[in-house]
């Protein structure tokens, strides 16, 4: 037999919870907004001419592009950097390009002291000049990027910059 008190109890619970859930929905959506934002599409960027590189001597090049950060639009400025490694003559790929972001935890990979490979200053990940990992710190080798060489006698090297998910053995693109 439903009582008046029972009815009020039910009504209070119902009302309170309805309001709470109604308020939680926009709140959660607001907080999770970053998940709805897509990363930007990237074009090939010309970085250098082949003659500027010497085989086996990696050089870092900045990726210079406009950047939209929430409500701020930044003019062209360096947003990341890549390492270009020219391969010996006759190799299939003339130039290898690696993102300087460490696949371990995204610190910037720099040349090792002996210049015979790369290393990360944060947790000591080591890589060879071919980007292959040399110790177990990084879950995978350095992330290779798409390279395009023009048909000129001294080809222009263009690279499509991209970011990949750190801490994953598999190279997964970050949207």
């Amino acid at each position: 037999m439903p009582t008046r008190r029972g009815f009020y109890r039910f009504l209070s619970m119902l009302g309170g919870n309805t309001v709470a859930i109604a308020m939680a929905v926009p709140g959660v959506r607001f907080l999770l907004d970053p998940l709805t934002k897509k990363g930007q599409e990237r074009n090939l960027l010309s970085l250098a001419r082949l003659s500027q590189l010497q085989p086996g001597k990696p050089q870092a090049f900045s990726i210079i592009e406009e950047k939209q950060d929430a409500w701020v639009k930044y003019p062209k400025e360096p947003v990341g950097s890549v390492w270009l490694v020219r391969q010996p003559d006759g190799a299939k790929e003339k130039v290898l390009a690696f993102s300087a972001e460490c696949p371990h935890l995204s610190c910037s990979v720099t040349l090792s002291n002996d210049r015979q490979g790369f290393q990360c200053p944060c947790h000591g990940a080591m890589f060879g000049l071919d980007g292959a990992k040399k110790n177990a710190v990084s879950p995978r080798g350095m992330d290779g990027l798409e390279v395009d060489l023009s048909d000129d006698p001294d080809p222009v090297i263009s690279v499509r910059f991209a970011r990949f998910q750190p801490q994953s053995a598999e190279k997964k693109s970050l949207a």
């Binding site: 999770l32 400025e77 935890l105 610190c107 200053p121 944060c122």
Partner: protein, 591 residues
């Protein structure tokens, strides 16, 4: 009178009664200093709350202005360094006291009934202190905070399944930026303090409405005034130590503004996360042990302890609890020690840290002149010394030495002071020197000239003086007008220049180059920002080195450098920048 007011207040609110019950609550007489630990912890949190409110009156939570506002607090505001130092060091105090407090609770078995709530609250507060430390570290948006945020959020991003989404939500986007800072700010100044205040309120309620004594056999006395005196004594000592540390280090240091493009910043977390950071290093390939398993087990252990203790025989439970907390403590201490020792020993860390310190000192020096409205990062990115130097090292040093500094085998002139009288005088003296065209056999024009030239040092001086004025030619002035100007005609070096140099070099009309003895760069405006930036952008111009074969030319850098990069480079080469102060500025050390 006062009694009447209190009576009235009590009638309306019961606050005086509650306060009295709180002050008169029975406390054991045998554990005075142990009890005082909790009050000292509370004191550090109150110091953090008050200094935090003070900092909020100036701090600007924007990724473009945060660094500047923290710079202003630290270096410009009266007592700013002290307030900010207190805030940071009080949080260190809270971490240490929080740890000690938990340790003591284990020793006295205060996780057992009826004190489970006590234990859970203390554990929750310690975790909140750690989260506050992590989020607060990011707020200055300096290199240290920025890179710590990157590494920490990437660790969170390694969580199975939800990791990548979690990281994006914490960062407020796929990259660290504006919303990263606002999110950490909200967490740091609103959410965490609210949760702590809630824990504090529950804590107070535990004391006020305690239903039973902890241990009937222990002799007790009212909290006020004996125990309160011990509490105040330890709290004062804590505050004194925090003040002493603040004064000794002259506040907490501020690193250079966040620079996402910096390529060798040695990111390190706050010292209390060094153990986990080292574990990340050691557990290579199995980071989840350091980022998930260890913190997970430690936290779960803390919260399950009262329940586990209930299930086990008393002695076994105590032993287990002690073992658990001591293992945590010993592991944390030894890992921290190892981490600090490793960095101390590591050459690459030292070099990277020195570079970061140089950038920091420079940023702080330049910030004195004000921070551009576009944001903090422009303090350094527009500085010829810092940014131009970095660009030179990346783009030029492979071929051009700089003041004798080389990288690899030089194949071009030394560019230190290029465009100034010093450089041109040196060239006229000995063009074949390695600093000039000694390493560039293809550019033998000056060498040929020098071999047949019989000019005296005084005459060379005059020419150098004259050529050095080219850099100051107004870009709006045409070559004809410039030639006609009396300042040109009457210059002591004018006649010598006309006699000796224009056989090869054109002056503003490169179409005349074919009539010259040997193709050479046009010297009109030589060394000026325009001339040099054209050289950097495209050396193949007819006014520069268009006459060389493709494989002999310097590469064009127009696509690889922004206007700002080039202007910084040009000014760096000429030495046209605010000189760094001779001794390092008085800045707090980084450790």
């Amino acid at each position: 009178m006062l009694n009447n007011i209190i009576a009235w207040l009590d009638d309306r609110t019961a606050l005086p009664t509650i306060t009295r019950r709180f002050l008169d609550r029975p406390v054991p007489v045998n554990k005075r200093w142990g009890h005082a630990l909790g009050f000292a912890l509370l004191t550090t949190l109150i110091v953090d709350l008050i200094t935090g409110l003070l900092l909020m009156t100036t701090y600007s939570p924007s990724s473009t202005m945060a660094w500047g506002s923290v710079y202003y607090i630290t270096y410009q505001m009266d007592a700013g360094w002290f307030v900010r130092g207190l805030h940071r060091y009080a949080s260190y105090g809270a971490v240490i006291l929080g740890g000690l407090y938990l340790f003591r609770l284990v020793l006295v078995g205060a996780y057992r009934a009826p004190k489970e709530m006590h234990w859970w609250l203390a554990s929750a507060v310690l975790l909140l202190i750690l989260v506050a430390g992590v989020s607060g570290n990011v707020l200055p948006w300096d290199q240290r905070g920025y890179w710590a945020a990157i590494v920490e959020t990437n660790m969170a991003g390694g969580t199975p399944i939800i990791g990548p989404m979690l990281k994006k939500v914490i960062l407020g986007g796929s990259q660290a930026g504006s919303q990263t800072l606002t999110r950490f700010y909200g967490l740091h100044v609103a959410l965490i303090p609210s949760l702590m205040l809630f824990c504090g309120w529950v804590f107070a309620m535990l004391f006020v409405f305690r239903r039973r004594a902890d241990d009937e056999t222990v002799l007790t006395e009212p909290y006020w005034p004996h125990q309160s005196c011990c509490d105040i004594a330890l709290a004062s000592l804590t505050v004194a130590l925090i003040c002493a540390l603040t004064v000794a280090t002259h506040g907490y240091s501020l690193d250079a503004p966040a620079d996402p493009s910096s390529d060798d910043y040695p990111a390190r977390p706050e010292w209390y996360f060094l153990p986990l950071n080292l574990l990340v290093h050691e557990m290579a390939g199995r980071e989840y042990i350091a980022t998930m398993v260890v913190p997970g087990v430690a936290t779960t252990g803390l919260f399950l302890l009262p329940l586990v203790a209930k299930l086990l025989p008393r002695k076994l439970g105590s032993a287990l609890a002690f073992l658990f907390i001591s293992t945590l403590a010993i592991a944390a201490l030894s890992l921290t020690g190892t981490a600090i020792y490793r960095d101390f020993e590591s050459t690459s860390y030292r070099i990277a840290r020195e570079k970061a310190d140089t950038a920091r000192d420079r940023a702080i020096q330049l910030a004195r002149d004000g921070i551009p409205p576009e944001g903090d990062s422009y303090v350094l990115s527009r500085d010829p010394l810092h940014h131009g130097g970095k660009m030179f090292e990346k783009k030029c040093l492979g071929c051009h030495p700089f003041g004798g500094q080389v990288q690899g085998e030089p194949s071009a002139p030394d560019l230190k002071d290029f465009g100034t009288r010093t450089w041109i005088r040196g060239l006229l003296e000995k063009p074949t020197s390695d600093a000039y065209f000694g390493k560039v056999p293809i550019l033998d024009g000056m060498k040929t000239w020098k071999e047949s030239s019989k000019l005296s040092p005084a005459e060379l001086d005059a020419i150098a003086d004259f050529v050095a004025t080219f850099a100051t030619i107004d870009p709006e002035v045409s070559p004809a007008d410039w030639y006609a100007a009396p300042t040109t005609k009457n210059h002591p070096g004018y006649t010598l220049f006309q006699k000796n140099c224009v056989d090869c070099h054109t002056m503003g009309d490169p179409s005349q180059a074919e009539k010259k003895t040997q193709p050479s760069p046009d010297l009109f405006g030589w060394g000026s920002p325009r001339w040099t930036s054209r050289m950097i952008k495209n050396p193949s111009r007819s006014t520069h080195y268009g006459h060389l074969e493709a494989d002999q030319k310097m590469p064009a850098f127009a696509d690889q450098l922004t206007e700002n990069d080039i202007s910084a480079l040009v000014r760096y080469i000429r030495g046209d920048y605010t000189p760094p102060p001779p001794p390092a500025p008085v800045a707090p050390t980084s450790k």
